[in-house]
Symmetry: C2
Subunit: 390 residues, 2 copies
């Protein structure tokens, strides 16, 4: 193995494709290390321009803008997997892109992703490609019910998905995915959703934060409980799966691995999907670890030493969705609660506007399930008022 | 008492006078809360421009620039006490300035400051005003030896100070202060230097972090140990002194209070000086508290609820002075160590280039002094190579 490239020293510039809250928090983490951020986004976005040293506003397919961006930065990364692979390859011919365009390609297509996972020996739900109503019928015969039809690309927060419970729903399902190339997955009767935030350095070293438990509302992540409250064996298994995925992808950077915990005599873990980027379920690391997932990502893509993925506190992260962010004053009054607001100008239903992290003494959330539940319920947010879009 | 003004909501803009690392860390704290930063500095400074949404580069006495700045922001604060009081007053006629121009005036002149402290019933070293060599002789007769001659204004990191041990040194001392208006202070035979980071909200509420212990090298803060390792009574006394100072000044924002611990049958605390701003000895709060001193300052000047000044970990903060910052790669390898680099382009001897914070389990640094010393020595930085300036 050749020796890893020289690290990017303080004063260097990280290019970030995408201009949402993940780019914002990456920029803040870069600033702490004396590194600069240059954000490339498709629409002018106050959210990031406030904290990044430079910004390019152009289409992700604008080659002149991409070439100038590559000139201006020392490494390129992204905050979303919805970047054209061709654009990542165009950049990679000019400047290091981390994680690689290959990782992006694998993660942005559910069929490629599931196929990769299966070939890597990772347990997933059964799946089949669906490109037509006839495919869907055939896939349902193979996989059975219930099953979930999902578009292969551009799905997030439950968009482009349809849960088929009865044979009569295939028409509605096909309509829900808009006839786009899709994948049918067996519905996994999971007990809870978990995730592991892993990081792999340029030297091949890997560091994983402990698995966390995720709760969703309206298909959007609502709450992350760190740690997940699992038997030790499952923590190890979850990290081993994330490690194997990172190695098989020759990954560089932070990787989010979403899993299902499936109950049984021996509970087992299924990988649901991978996110080749920092992940919402890792936001708790900002407040509960010396090195956050954002700093870890900056470190790894810059060739810095991997941070130790150790937490000093247990934590519950709660997203502020839509008008929940209006509660910032009451939230600011709660002791031990760190408030993060993303500076988005417009509040829209379902939009991630911020998050809060409540810290607990180390070990207190992992003791036993009832106590954990009682404690994590201590933060009461009003439900989001989901109305028609303004 | 009239009710406090309405808080500045997310999306609002904080104006910061000064463009060094304190402004940088304030800008980052503001960004986390969805607030914008507009920095006003006298020289173009990459350090801050990278993380602040806007920057004005102009002289602190440029009234046109100050007026435009006041128009652009919702509140003004400062990262240094070396701001002309007239400029703060000019701004205060247009936009809230927090802390007030009065607090600035008290803190930027050692004679005014010590007089204020004495009138507030706070113990300080004996002192006398010195405006001439004859004053100095008279002051020495009154105060005795050893004593320290300090310029009244613009002193920091030991600059503009002279320790007089023998009567024959008065000429050298007068030369060291350049004949500027000065103050002679009795030398306090202190055991160690402490500080308290206090915050006072617009509603008059006060929150103090626990007192910390500070170690200096070459008159520059080298290390802060949090907490200080004191008997409970002294923690309470230290906070009570900071509280009284904040109340007497009708203070708004974060206040650093530097103290001497003087040994004796009943150890006592002397206040050495006050800093009307966030303070180097509070940097550990970024990594060891849910709410850092920077966020606390942003909260208080914006009328947000005071954060609870609770730490989740004990901590040792070590400044990276001059070429010590070159050790960033080795420092990045140490588990539990958070690295902060200020992005300054030029390394100069004695210049604060960054800091690192090592976290320890809560309570582990307060148990007993020998263990604390052993633990806090665990981080070995090479000594700064102080040569001639490049």
């Amino acid at each position: 193995m050749s020796s890893p490239p020289a690290p990017i020293a303080p004063g260097g510039t990280i290019g970030i494709l995408g201009g949402g809250q993940l780019a914002r928090m990456l920029s803040i983490a870069a600033a702490r290390l004396g590194l600069r951020a240059h954000v490339f986004c498709q629409t002018p976005d106050q959210t990031v321009a406030e904290v990044a040293g430079s910004a390019t506003v152009a289409d992700f397919e604008d080659e002149a803008a991409l070439a100038a961006f590559a000139e201006a930065v020392d490494v390129v990364t992204f905050e979303t997997e919805n970047i054209p692979v061709a654009s990542a390859e165009f950049l990679a011919a000019r400047v290091p892109v981390r994680p690689s365009a290959h990782c992006l390609a694998v993660a942005q297509d559910r069929l490629t992703e599931k196929t990769f996972l299966r070939e890597a020996g990772i347990v997933t739900a059964d799946f089949a490609a669906v490109d037509s109503p006839a495919d869907l019928e055939a896939a349902l015969r193979e996989i059975g019910l219930p099953a979930v039809l999902k578009t292969r690309r551009f799905g997030y927060d439950g968009k482009g998905q349809f849960l088929i419970r009865e044979p009569g729903q295939t028409g509605d399902a096909w309509k829900a995915v808009n006839g786009a190339p899709s994948i049918l997955e067996a519905f996994v009767p999971f007990e809870c959703e978990l995730s592991v935030i892993a990081a792999r350095g340029l030297d091949g070293g890997i560091a994983c934060f402990d698995a966390v438990r995720n709760e969703h509302e309206n298909h959007i992540l609502s709450k992350t409980i760190a740690p997940a409250g699992l038997p030790d064996l499952l923590y190890g298994q979850a990290q081993a799966m994330a490690r194997r995925i990172a190695e098989r992808l020759d990954y560089a950077g932070v990787l989010g691995v979403e899993m299902f915990l499936v109950p049984g005599a021996e509970p087992s873990l299924y990988v649901n999907e991978i996110a080749p980027r920092v992940h919402n379920s890792g936001h708790w690391t900002i407040d509960a670890c010396a090195i956050s997932q954002f700093e870890q990502h900056v470190r790894t893509i810059c060739g810095w030493p991997l941070g130790a993925p150790v937490r000093h506190s247990d934590a519950v992260m709660t997203n502020l969705i839509g008008d929940q962010v209006a509660g910032w004053q009451d939230l600011g009054r709660q002791p031990g609660l760190a408030v993060h607001i993303y500076g988005k100008e417009e509040i829209r239903p379902g939009r991630k506007m911020g998050h809060v992290t409540q810290l607990f003494p180390l070990g207190s959330l992992d003791e036993d399930a009832p106590a954990t539940t009682a404690r994590t319920r201590s933060l009461k947010l009003p439900p989001e008022k989901i109305g028609s879009r303004p």
